[in-house]
């Protein structure tokens, strides 16, 4: 590796430490004011749940998901989950600016504490505001363990603890409380992530199949698709039955509260009539019902071992390592299907004569909500790192900022989507100088079954200082998942009449 190459790697890593919050952060949540909740917990409760709020790719700070506890009480309110007691560990960021929070969270200068609040507030935050699923895992406890849990939580009243993104976060303190409850020794790790707590040995035998609250955007998206298909997006009030009126009113309410959609006077009057009519008749429709659902999530780290074959009969070993999050190859029903986040990814080619970096990401995120979704946003991606390109027939590493915008269209429901993206990447091109790479591309993704998926991508990278304008690149990928944590991957790439073929096995592993 040349000195300049190393220098740019160093610059990128330094940049990461300045803006590293997205990479290590758990879901940092500003401490809210508790209301209507007596903060002393009685040990005579009915059921304790460990709640996992799914990842929130729109904000990398929430990309790993979030853990909190939920207590179902005995007594008159027990049938109403909205009034159950959520116990949440969160950082106190009052008085901190964004940058100050980043810095202090990274070095562990924030403080956090347990807060008690009614569950409806957490439903509102996650299901409505951030379109995240909630998974409620019942925890099996003996009466003695319930007592120990209540003692632990009550002992932490009015006390604060250190908060650090990597290892003193929500998952850490929830884990500590459960270790105490089970009378198990607690040892902190260097990184503590929610998905590792959920699958940890001390806990997983105590967890039952979770109850699931689907995010409201997903629920409404299904409704909107249904009504658009039936051409009833502008209905007559009298033509709607009671359930349809609820569907429309719920959709309008969400558009107004969450998407800032403005309504004219006629529409407001229509909404008022819907609301009034609904209040006059019985309906059996209810949003956010709790239902059991199987949960799968993969471990956060990955190692992939692949065989690589190049055009000039070169045979290499390609080793792919990743710390963190989710990519196209992973199988999980907890991550949004079209959103992908990779962090600390390094893909290295090894042969008998050389070791060469093939891909390097400090951070790479993409979000591609297909167009059929309700109010679907722009597709976009943002990455800091490097990828290997063929430049005038020569393989070179381009390190820098990768950004792209475009749109994704759902062609066949959840099975086939097509993205049109334009990427603009200011990069440092190995052995040359700064370059701007403009890269239009069309990518089709196919989700054939739960285990099988693939993609076909056509792109055309254009380098600012090159005279070559039309050099299309074709890339095919195929994935076969064996378990949640093991999958086969194969890839074929054609560019400049050169072919790269690779295939191998990838393992997601616990930290």
């Amino acid at each position: 590796m040349s000195q300049s190459y190393l220098r740019w790697v160093l610059v990128l890593i330094s940049t990461f430490f300045l803006f590293s919050y997205p990479l290590q952060a758990q879901n940092i949540v500003a401490n809210q004011q508790s209301s209507s909740i007596d903060e002393t917990l009685d040990s005579d409760f009915k059921q304790l749940y460990l709640v996992f709020a799914g990842p929130y790719p729109a904000s990398p700070s929430s990309a790993f998901g979030h853990l909190f506890l939920l207590v179902e009480p005995k007594g008159s309110n027990t049938s109403n989950p909205q009034l159950w007691r959520a116990i949440n560990f969160s950082a106190n960021v009052e008085g901190h600016s964004g940058i100050s929070t980043l810095y202090n969270g990274l070095i562990g200068s924030l403080e956090g504490s347990f807060e008690h609040l009614p569950f409806y507030k957490k439903i509102r935050d996650y299901s409505y505001a951030e379109a995240r699923d909630l998974w409620l895992f019942p925890i099996e406890l003996t009466p003695k363990e319930k007592n120990r849990f209540a003692n632990f939580i009550n002992s932490r009243q009015d006390s604060t603890s250190q908060y650090r993104f990597s290892d003193k976060n929500c998952a850490t303190y929830i884990s500590e409380s459960l270790h105490y409850t089970f009378d198990e020794p607690f040892n902190n790790k260097v990184f503590v992530l929610p998905q590792d707590i959920l699958s940890s040995d001390f806990l997983k035998q105590r967890l039952s199949t979770p109850l699931w609250i689907q995010d409201i955007e997903e629920q409404l998206g299904e409704l909107v698709s249904k009504y658009e298909l039936n051409n009833v997006s502008n209905p007559e009030l009298d033509s709607l039955d009671a359930t349809e009126k609820v569907h429309f009113l719920k959709t309008y309410e969400w558009l107004y509260n969450n998407k800032s959609v403005r309504f004219n006077a006629d529409k407001k009057e229509f909404i008022r009539q819907l609301r009034y009519d609904i209040a006059q008749q019985e309906t059996d429709y209810e949003f956010n019902q709790l239902e059991s659902k199987e949960f799968n999530i993969h471990h956060p780290a990955r190692i992939g071992i692949n065989y690589f074959y190049g055009n000039n009969s070169s045979n290499k070993l390609l080793i792919d390592t990743r710390l963190g999050l989710h990519s196209f190859g992973d199988k999980a029903n907890t991550y949004p299907k079209y959103d992908h986040i990779n962090v600390f990814r390094v893909r290295t080619m090894v042969s008998t004569s050389e070791v060469m970096m093939d891909e390097f990401w400090i951070f790479h995120q993409s979000s591609r909500q297909p167009k059929s979704e309700l109010n679907s946003p722009l597709s976009w991606s943002l990455g800091l790192g490097g990828d290997r390109f063929l430049y005038e027939g020569q393989s070179l590493m381009a390190l820098g900022l990768y950004s792209a915008v475009g749109n994704t269209y759902s062609i066949l429901d959840d099975y086939w989507s097509s993205s049109v993206m334009l990427s603009v990447n200011p990069t440092y091109l190995e052995k040359h100088t700064w370059s701007l790479i403009v890269n239009p591309k069309v990518e089709n993704r196919f989700f054939i079954s739960e285990k099988v998926k693939g993609s076909i991508e056509v792109s055309n990278p254009i380098f600012l200082q090159s005279n070559e304008l039309f050099k299309p690149k074709l890339q095919l990928k195929g994935i076969y998942s064996i378990t949640d944590n093991i999958y086969f991957k194969s890839e074929v790439e054609w560019h400049y009449n050169q072919v790269r073929i690779l295939g191998g096995i990838n393992f997601n592993i616990s930290l």
Partner: protein
Amino acid sequence: MTKRTLLVGIVLSLFLGSCVTLMKGTKQLVTINSNVEDAGVYLNGAQIGTTPFASEIKKGNDALTIKKEGYRSHTLSLSKSIEPIFFGNIITGGTLGSITDFATGAAYSYSPSTYQVELYKKGEGQEAFLDRYELRKYALLNMTDISVDLGNNGGDHLQTLITLAELPYNQDSIDLVRSKFEISNGNEITFGKEVVKLLDA
């Protein structure tokens, strides 16, 4: 040269497009409702309207002051919650906490440029204020489910609303909510002196 011109054109159009996305013009429509009607809305010391308020305001104005006789004045910070900038969010790690729950003392945004301002009555305690604030917020954000529960003569959302109003959850309380709702033709939910107007109706 042609290629460079083309590239510059693509890049310029992309970034200009991005700017439009981020800035969305020089003015923003701001809607402000408050727990008391006819509260004055002030910008840079000059009154520009009263609540319920809906008007376009030049961007760059960070704060509006809401005043009413008998209540504490409240300065509403606009910059914290209007249009969280897309890539800016990513680079700085996103907004903290919920994007719709920007509790800034006595105001929150239940839509990116729509604010509910709760003014403290002079002499009112913090606990009473927070209870009132939470009740109104809950009613605004859950109006569909509350309407469904009224039609079903009970349900989780209605129970939660009544509990927040510190009333017993029984038929009398349900009838109280229903009667006020019907008197206003579905425009309001009322508890005693507290009126929650639904969807600015």
